[in-house]
Symmetry: C2
Subunit: 242 residues, 2 copies
Amino acid sequence: MATRCDSCPLRQAEIFEKMNGEDIQFTQRFKVGELSVDPGTPLLMEGSNSPQLFTALHGMGLRYKLLPNGRRQVVSLIFPGDFIGLQAGIMGEMGHSVEATTKMTLCVFDRSEIWSFFKERPERAFSLTWLAAVEEHFLGDTLATLGQRTAMQSIAWALSRVFVRGQALDMVHNGAMKFPYKQQDIADALGLSLVHTNKTLAALKAKQLAHWSDGTLRIPDLEALAEVGLLDNLEPATRPII
Amino acid sequence: MATRCDSCPLRQAEIFEKMNGEDIQFTQRFKVGELSVDPGTPLLMEGSNSPQLFTALHGMGLRYKLLPNGRRQVVSLIFPGDFIGLQAGIMGEMGHSVEATTKMTLCVFDRSEIWSFFKERPERAFSLTWLAAVEEHFLGDTLATLGQRTAMQSIAWALSRVFVRGQALDMVHNGAMKFPYKQQDIADALGLSLVHTNKTLAALKAKQLAHWSDGTLRIPDLEALAEVGLLDNLEPATRPII
DNA sequence: CGGATCATTGAAGTCCCTCAAGTCCTGTGG
DNA sequence: CCACAGGACTTGAGGGACTTCAATGATCCG
């Protein structure tokens, strides 16, 4: 039973830009179905031009790139509300692969219809561009992390950001949120080795700054952690939803 | 004397998406002037919301972020044809600063008019989104470089990409192109120290793979360099121009 | 009970960083 | 015309943050 856009649970969270009735109606028309996948399922492949685009409704995933030498770079984590496949929709080719980390349910859109956003519904086209700009902004921050932060700072930065995002999505209860990734995922996201990531996480735990185990992330003092991570802005950016 | 869009010299280069007469005319209407700046001039500041957006006509620049600890991450180099200020135009806030490296001339657009792209000229709005997607794609590649490539691979990758871009813009003559940056800029772009960048460049020169001095970059065998840099695609992506 | 996956810990090695000089070049002013 | 200062580039040396290698636990599952 597919979720209807006008009762989309995502829009509850306040980081998402308000949509008016017509926007919702238009988006509904664009939605061709709903997809449910198991953990580990590939959703899009780098270099491909999938006919389908998605919005994550439930569950989490990750975007990554594989290098010729076999190493993997995790580009970003996917949270509910993220739009997946914009590059394919616009440029006709994905720059990274996407896979589900947990069980996910996704709204499915038809790539060939993307032009109608621009043609018929400029507000929605603007939202699409907005999302691209948000992503670019975020990647810039991540770049600065890999380039200029130490391992300790990087991990503190990443966990802080995750937590801020989690708060904005009402995923934090009693100071804890589900964080269903592997240490290897975070290592690959930050350009660190698994071993060093593990030891740094242990150090953060010893300092009482972040506790992450069994897929649950607990941060007693977000400001303290953010300071270690040289993260100055704890406000989640508001963004549109497709 | 301002350049007219219908005789814009940039569109000569074939990496740029073809524009029809109406697109050109519309863009011309949007253009409010031309700006000429000296090397070192700041164009946009991180966190600001400039009323002006630019397209680089001549000259080169760079985008960068400053961290609380004073370190600098160069996010990308700016080449002719690049659009500057999209984030401010869409989100109302830049995620990085921009400054001119050489003397530059820029087309100036009015930020408040950006909505008219979407409202009146969906083709141009699509181009804008396309640019954002291209940038996101590129940042993903850069991320993989900082995270997964060695210093030698990183520099080989960066120089190869620069050269490919230079070729596409007809900036390469007799196997050489102007590359007016400092070693510190490249070090900050790749998350390396100046010293190590210098030594790695020397190593590449010794291997006859890349010669960069006095602001001129010479690459005798692009394929060989690209292979060292684990760069597989030597085709420049076609992109729109604003 | 094996086998698989993930997390943890120890030890050794290395790539890259920081520190510190020194060269080359350009511009400036006496 | 030369002394000097500043900026970019070079080069050497030593140290450290992080990697790789290797082994062990812990948990889950057919």
